[in-house]
């Protein structure tokens, strides 16, 4: 459908919030928690924090939570009964105020979860989210959406995109049918307003590299061990980058409980040595440099190749979260400049 551009007053947005809540939807939005801002369930627009560059964690928690139950089991006298998740009871969720980069990330996640056999739980969760994006008026030195095909006002991935125009006015772009449904209760309060200059409100994010260049170099760099060693010398091998990443989709499955219990899916990271450790003790990626390479290759080479989608949206969270300041932009530039 064509994008429908209107404007909305903050007070109408507040009304919309209470309408969503009364319709039984949860609202997940950036919220100030102590000295940082992260996604949390909110009860009103007042609770939402809109002025941060980014949240610590990504909104993937709505569709791919940190720990989720896949099924429950019960063993009685040797007979095992399984109880699958009731997908119908998964809550409808409005993710409000996420940045365009984050909105774009759902496509990457979907590409992986639905790659071969669609992941029923993931799909059901994805089905039940409505993505209300908010354009970026500020960016920081970690942001690089424009280098990976996105932008501070990009609509891809959002059902609705808001742009704060100041003075309690928001530009509201309805991008999908889901988006239209979401604002139907306040459609009377929406005013078509062509005079609003969205571009002027957007942050400037200068492209730092081109994906084409990266993709072409990466494949050839695979065997350049010294390149990767130098690049990753500082990396300590924690999972912070992967866990705050909106597109990282690796998980581990754990059964908990004895005779009765649950099968849980939880996040995992290719940065961990344990990730590829074989039972035999052999590890095909024994070095941190190989694991760092894997991370970049997966996002910028394997995913475009196999799923036709980049594994990176340029949110910069990995760099912000990194305890040793592994700055993704710098590393990508280094790739682009490498002479394999």
């Amino acid at each position: 459908m064509a994008i429908e551009t209107t404007s909305i007053k903050r007070e109408t947005l507040e009304k919309l919030f209470s309408n969503w809540l009364s319709e039984g939807k949860r609202i997940l939005a950036p919220k100030k928690l102590g000295d940082h801002v992260d996604f949390a369930l909110v009860g009103s627009l007042a609770e939402v924090s809109l002025d941060q560059v980014q949240t610590v964690q990504s909104p993937k928690i709505a569709v791919f939570p940190r720990v989720e139950e896949l099924l429950a089991f019960q063993s009685t006298d040797g007979n095992v009964q399984l109880r699958e998740r009731d997908l119908a009871v998964l809550p409808e969720t409005v993710i409000f105020g996420l940045r365009p980069c984050d909105a774009a990330a759902f496509a990457s996640l979907k590409a992986i979860f639905d790659w071969d056999t669609p992941d029923k739980l993931f799909s059901a969760r994805l089905e039940k989210i409505t993505v209300v994006g908010l354009s970026c008026s500020r960016a920081d030195e970690y942001c690089f959406c424009t280098s990976v095909g996105g932008g501070p006002g990009a609509a891809a991935g959002s059902d609705i995109l808001l742009t704060d125009m100041g003075r309690e006015d928001f530009l509201l772009e309805i991008i999908s049918e889901k988006g239209r449904q979401a604002v139907r209760s306040v459609s009377a309060g929406l005013q078509p307003d062509a005079a609003m200059d969205k571009e002027s409100r957007l942050a400037r994010v200068t492209p730092a590299f081109t994906v084409e260049k990266i993709s072409s170099v990466l494949a050839a760099l695979f065997d350049d061990a010294s390149f990767w060693e130098k690049q990753s010398l500082r990396c300590l091998g924690c999972g912070a980058c992967a866990y705050v990443c909106p597109t990282c989709a690796c998980f581990d499955i754990q059964d908990e409980g004895g005779a009765s219990g649950k099968r849980l899916r939880c996040w995992d990271s290719c940065g961990f040595g344990l990730f590829t450790l074989h039972t035999s003790g052999h590890n095909p990626r024994p070095l941190q440099s190989q694991r760092w390479r894997q991370r970049l290759m997966h996002k910028f080479s394997y995913m475009p190749e196999r799923q036709s989608v980049l594994g990176c949206v340029g949110c910069g969270r990995c760099s912000r979260a990194c305890p040793v300041d592994m700055n993704m932009v710098e590393h990508m530039r280094a790739v682009a400049e490498a002479k394999p």
């Binding site: 970690y142 300590l236 924690c238 939880c266 996040w267 305890p323 040793v324 300041d325």
Partner: protein, 267 residues
């Protein structure tokens, strides 16, 4: 700063060391670890108050160790880490140099554990008054308040193990969380798994932690992990009169005992 750069140049040119691990410019105003392998690169070195990472963590990284003999730009915590690692048989004497810049920019080179010990004795190795004050704030809270405080913090833990990776004393090649026969710590980052992981981390650092604070700084979700370590530092000092990282050969608080250790809680 020039002193430090010159020292690095000198050491690298003379092949006294193969790599100088120090601080350089990071994103924005931040500082990050740099690995200077030639005299020409020495200009990248920086030293100021923003240099806070305990670079001793790289002593235990095989890829860095592989580079050869290391000179480590050291802040007070780094020196104590070196001694603690030595006392845990992880590094040998004369295997590294420590370069200690002072406030004026002058650099002291410490080449032996004995020299580091002599330097460390002169540092203030106690918890600072501010740290003690902060600790006390929690100690005087009610038990239930403390529980809520930690439950809220731990509920955010992602189990990304950045705290472990950043800790120079978490060098085990197989961490307890990686043991699955039995599975001591639940893998998922649910509340139980998070609590058990954090208790275990604190216990395994009891009598060993040198209070660099890198765990807290590494935590992407801002859990004040240093409080747990500082609490045990204070307990170990109070009860056993022991401080970690003071000597290259030392009796470890948790693997020794005194016949008259407190036992008022044993009835």
């Amino acid at each position: 700063m020039e002193d430090l750069r010159n020292k690095a140049r000198e050491l690298l040119a003379a092949k006294a060391v193969q790599v100088v691990v120090g601080y350089g410019r990071g994103t924005g105003a931040s500082r990050r670890a740099v690995f200077i392998q030639s005299a020409a690169e020495a200009g990248e070195l920086l030293f100021d108050n923003a240099c806070r990472q305990n670079l001793a963590v790289y002593l235990m990284k095989p890829e860095v160790r592989k580079l050869g003999k290391m000179a480590l730009v050291a802040i007070p915590a780094t020196l104590r880490t070196i001694l603690q690692l030595a006392s845990e048989n992880q590094i040998q004497d004369l295997e590294l140099l420590a370069l200690v810049p002072d406030a004026s920019g002058a650099v002291t080179q410490l080449a032996t554990f004995a020299a580091i010990e002599a330097h460390v004795v002169l540092q203030d190795n106690d918890l600072s008054a501010a740290e003690k004050g902060e600790l006390q704030k929690y100690e005087i809270m009610g038990m239930e308040q403390r529980r809520q405080f930690w439950e809220e913090h731990f509920s955010r833990c992602l189990k990304c193990y950045a705290c472990r990776a950043a800790c120079p004393l978490c060098y085990c090649s197989r961490c307890t969380v990686e043991c699955n026969q039995p599975q001591w710590i639940p893998v998922p980052a649910h509340d139980l798994g998070n609590l058990e992981w954090n208790i275990m981390r604190a216990m395994h650092l009891a009598g060993r932690c040198i209070n660099c604070g890198d765990c807290s700084r590494a935590c992407p979700v801002g859990i004040p992990l240093h409080l747990l370590n500082q609490k045990l530092i204070s307990e170990v000092y109070t009860h056993f009169n022991s401080r970690s990282g003071m000597a290259a050969k030392a009796d470890h608080a948790m693997s020794t005992f005194k016949p008259n250790d407190a036992e008022d809680f044993i009835r």
